[in-house]
């Protein structure tokens, strides 16, 4: 059982999923401090993955800054959030991230961040999938196999980030595959390739974590004391993300859960309790039956 854990650090996710030999685990490091909100990631993803096109008649402005995508979904596997944030006059020391000059009304800064499936080390979507549609790949990523998915949607409610989503027309669940087909061909995912400022970086997860740490230190040294890494830690509630982020503020500001926990964390314990209960029940039934026999 030690190799098949559902919680905590896991050094070899692909090995844990039965791949004897496999490439290094790869991932995304999204450095939001250099995101310009251009949405090239959203478009490159949709073009590569041939995601369904929207109906022109229903396209309307959301009124949420420059975000008209709204959220990750079955047809949007990258989503750029735009946060227009009031900054108190003394609330921001660094000069690496711009804010307006402070006047009587304070100042504003504009945070942008491209969100994506986290390809969790412990992926609840995968754990709850009853059909084997969700699968860990040899690259350590998590994908939905469209030829298996039956649209039961257990995964949808299991995801602590609300990433995975069913398509209305075909009923199946869809999400970022980290361009699994491209990875198989030795290519980087479409979003990371397009990203003009390298806000989305792709590579071996270990290397990305080192890059992220050094970028964080750079920002801290520049006075951006609120900068932080998100989902980079193998000790966190999902065992660390295969996609992790450098944020400039609390995760909630970006619409991300502050302390996500894999929803299947307690599954083994639940099964232990269930098992114990079953034993007790069985014993009780046995007693009852034996009693009945006795009395029969």
């Amino acid at each position: 059982m030690t190799a098949n854990r559902l919680y905590g650090p896991l050094a070899d996710v692909s090995g844990d999923a039965g791949y004897a030999e496999h490439p290094q685990r790869v991932g995304f490091f999204t450095d939001t401090s250099v995101c310009i909100g251009c949405k090239a990631c959203e478009v490159a993803c949709k073009e590569w993955n041939a995601l369904p096109e929207p109906d022109g008649d229903v396209l309307t402005l959301t009124g949420m800054s420059y975000d008209n995508t709204g959220a990750l979904g079955s047809n949007s596997w990258r989503h750029v959030a735009f946060i227009e944030q009031p900054v108190p006059a003394n609330g921001h020391a660094g000069e690496l991230i711009t804010q307006q000059p402070v006047d009587a009304d304070g100042a504003t800064r504009w945070l942008m961040a491209s969100d994506v499936c986290k390809h969790c080390t412990h992926a609840a979507c995968l754990d709850v999938c009853p059909t084997g549609a969700l699968v860990r790949t040899e690259f350590g990523t998590v994908i939905v196999q469209p030829d298996v998915c039956n649209g039961c949607a257990y995964c949808v409610s299991a995801c602590p980030f609300g990433v995975i989503d069913r398509r209305e027309d075909d009923g199946r669940a869809w999400k970022c595959t980290m361009c699994y087909d491209r990875l198989r061909g030795g290519l980087e995912p479409a979003c990371a390739k397009a990203c003009p400022t390298d806000s989305i970086q792709f590579g071996p997860l270990d290397e990305l974590r080192a890059v992220a740490q050094s970028r964080l230190e750079e920002l801290h040294a520049g006075g951006e004391t609120q900068a932080r890494l998100y989902l980079d830690d193998p000790d966190d509630g999902i065992g660390g993300g295969g996609a992790f982020f450098l944020l400039l503020d609390e995760p909630e500001v970006y619409g991300l859960p502050p302390d996500p926990v894999v929803t299947t964390r307690d599954l083994p314990r639940m099964w232990q309790w269930a098992g114990a209960a079953a034993v007790v029940l069985a014993a009780g039934v046995a007693v009852a039956f034996s009693g009945r026999r006795d009395t029969a």
Binding site: N4, S14, G15, D16, A17, G18, Y19, A20, C38, K39, A40, E42, V43, A44, E47, W48, L126, D127, C129, P130, T131, G132, A133, L134, V135, R136, T137, E138, I143, Q145, P146, D147, V148, C179, Y180, D181, R182, R184, G185, L187, A190, K193, A194, C195, P196, D198, P268, W271
Partner: protein, 206 residues
């Protein structure tokens, strides 16, 4: 655990051929390293077959993004789809010293620019005072336009103005976008100048 162990069995195909029994996910799950059925044991044919469509492109053509003037390098992948040459992908060219393989949302959408059904592929004609478009052959359109240029030029030709030779027509005007190739602009300017048309303008003015 029971649920996890059982999951692979759910996707058993009732009509699986005996020779493929070894590929049954449940069997793989129970006999292989992926005892929880979350990886190697439950890979589907779709997953096993995954490969980038660019790898099988019949040709890869070097191009330049047609939107802004940064001039990002593009690679255009062409394959035959239903016997017809089709652009299957356009993405950044990592060799470009300008763009290093990156593209903005417009550049990243350029495949759709080329393949969108919104493109009008046939000539349309609206007659004077007409209420609807009508079809017209390209050849007929070219002749009609040539006739109109010749006539408009003849009608509006100015040999001189205020006693000075000007040798021109102001009866024809042209306004080009700035996605025109240099070669196209060159032929246009050459032709217009020989025609004496001077109101030849471009987005570059705007």
């Amino acid at each position: 655990m029971a649920a996890l162990l059982a999951r692979a069995a759910c996707c058993l195909d009732e009509d699986v051929e005996p020779t493929r029994i070894a590929k049954w996910p449940a069997l793989r799950q129970l006999t292989g390293r992926d005892r929880l059925g979350r990886g190697a044991a439950v890979r589907s044919p779709h997953t096993e077959a995954a490969s980038p469509r660019t790898a099988s492109a019949e040709r890869v053509v070097a191009s330049i993004c047609p939107y802004c003037a940064v001039g990002c390098g593009q690679k255009v992948y062409v394959s035959a789809v239903n016997g017809k040459d089709t652009v299957t992908q356009i993405e950044g060219d990592p060799d470009s010293p300008v763009s290093r393989g990156r593209l903005c949302p417009k550049g990243a959408a350029s495949k759709q620019l080329v393949t969108t059904p919104a493109r009008q592929a046939k000539v349309l004609y609206r007659r004077p005072f007409g209420r609807a478009w009508e079809p017209l052959s390209l050849d007929a359109a070219m002749d009609m336009i040539a006739d109109r240029v010749v006539a408009a030029r003849a009608q509006t030709w100015q040999d001189e103005r205020d006693g000075t030779a000007v040798r021109r027509t102001t009866g024809i005007a042209s306004l080009g976008g700035a996605t025109l190739d240099n070669e196209e602009n060159y032929l246009m300017k050459k032709l217009w100048t020989a025609l004496g048309a001077i109101q030849i303008e471009n987005q570059a003015r705007i």
